[in-house]
Symmetry: C2
DNA sequence: TATTCACCCTACCAACCGGTAGGTAGGCAC
DNA sequence: GTGCCTACCTACCGGTTGGTAGGGTGAATA
């Protein structure tokens, strides 16, 4: 088991520090690969003290997932409220998704892991993390198509490819970083973003 | 731990049956979530007998990865040799990638898991499973661009988005299957494939 | 016939897992 | 003071893990 680097934000209370360390651990090693002991060590407490705050490993894992989910949802709401224009709204939402990926790669990875480990739970109806994003964006595209501003295409299939491309790119960044030189890596980051934007504009916008 | 259904192909020798069961187990539960005992049970032998064929869990895991890797490589060679025309070659390779995803979702999932679990090992230079695909396709696109048959774009960024979209779609199929009705699911399968093809033709082909 | 060897087994091990029992120290209310 | 709370601790539990030791068997080899 790799030792986790300790979380150094003493201004947070213990519970938040546990959540933070757990997010990092679960995203790096997965549910089974993470021991609550290692999480406890990362926040400099003993295992029973951690279990005082979260009564079981499952509960801790659930709390991490929930904190991600609520945060992601509020991000979406903000992005949707930003504009009235369909094209701009579309770009804003994708931008918001990109920013989340970039700022919280741990969360991105963990949600993908959850989908691999537990597809049935990940899919429990409205709990699935991508569901609200897809729903809102499908509506948005349909609206744009009725207004004659978007090309005719299957919104779901299109969105899944775009979001999937972005999602996959983010989770493979650690690998790419090891393969490419620093300058190539940085260039690819920019190019991928631009390329994705081109795909959206070329395929969706009239 | 979920019990694995036993592999019922008695014509294979034990070693191959172990590999097969291990692939399924690792892809479903990951390295830490899989016990070699459960793999042994799936092929109706005891744990020490499994360890007779693969001397450790790591070795078994490595053997599974290697068998996938060699298979994937031969798939690529076949696809590249299929045509001289750049456009057709491009479509053939993507088709080959698609077929692999479809026929061996376990392998697809496992390789993604490996990237999440162990980015540094996954990236060990020429071992990375996508490296040969990307290399060959980058060359192909460059050639097409010189011939004036492909649009000017950054091959790597374009390819990563396309392959990422396909890859991500495959690993989320189990989740999607639980969310959508059977007919919607089937329709989405078709639409996504068509949509991806449209993206390639629209963005790359002149 | 004697020996080797691949294959599979039972029995066992130390290490680690998630979780519990029970106790201590300090803060706050009365 | 007493009582009660939160936060943390040490010590321990049963169960599971990856891996080892060593024995049996049957087919090939000398």
């Amino acid at each position: 088991m790799t030792k986790l680097k300790s979380v150094k934000t003493p201004e947070l209370d213990t519970k938040s520090r546990i959540l933070q360390a757990a997010l990092e651990a679960f995203s790096q090693s997965g549910f089974y690969g993470t021991s609550i002991n290692s999480v406890a060590e990362a926040v400099n407490i003993k295992k029973p003290s951690l279990l005082h705050h979260f009564s079981s490993k499952e509960k801790l894992y659930g709390a991490v997932l929930e904190s991600i989910s609520t945060r992601l949802l509020s991000e979406l709401e903000a992005a949707m409220a930003s504009s009235e224009d369909e094209k701009q709204q579309m770009l804003n939402v994708m931008d918001s998704f990109y920013r989340w990926n970039k700022e919280c790669p741990n969360e991105t990875v963990l949600l993908l892991r959850e989908m691999l480990d537990n597809p049935q739970r990940a899919a429990t109806a409205h709990n699935w993390y991508l569901a609200p994003w897809l729903e809102r964006l499908v509506e948005l595209i349909r609206r744009g198509q009725q207004n004659g501003r978007f090309h005719e295409l299957e919104p779901m299939a299109f969105l899944y490819n775009i979001i999937g491309a972005q999602h996959y790119f983010v989770v493979s960044l650690p690998t790419l970083k090891q393969i490419l030189s620093a300058s190539d890596f940085k260039a690819l980051l920019k190019q991928q973003r631009q390329e994705l934007k081109s795909l959206i504009e070329l395929r969706l916008f009239k």
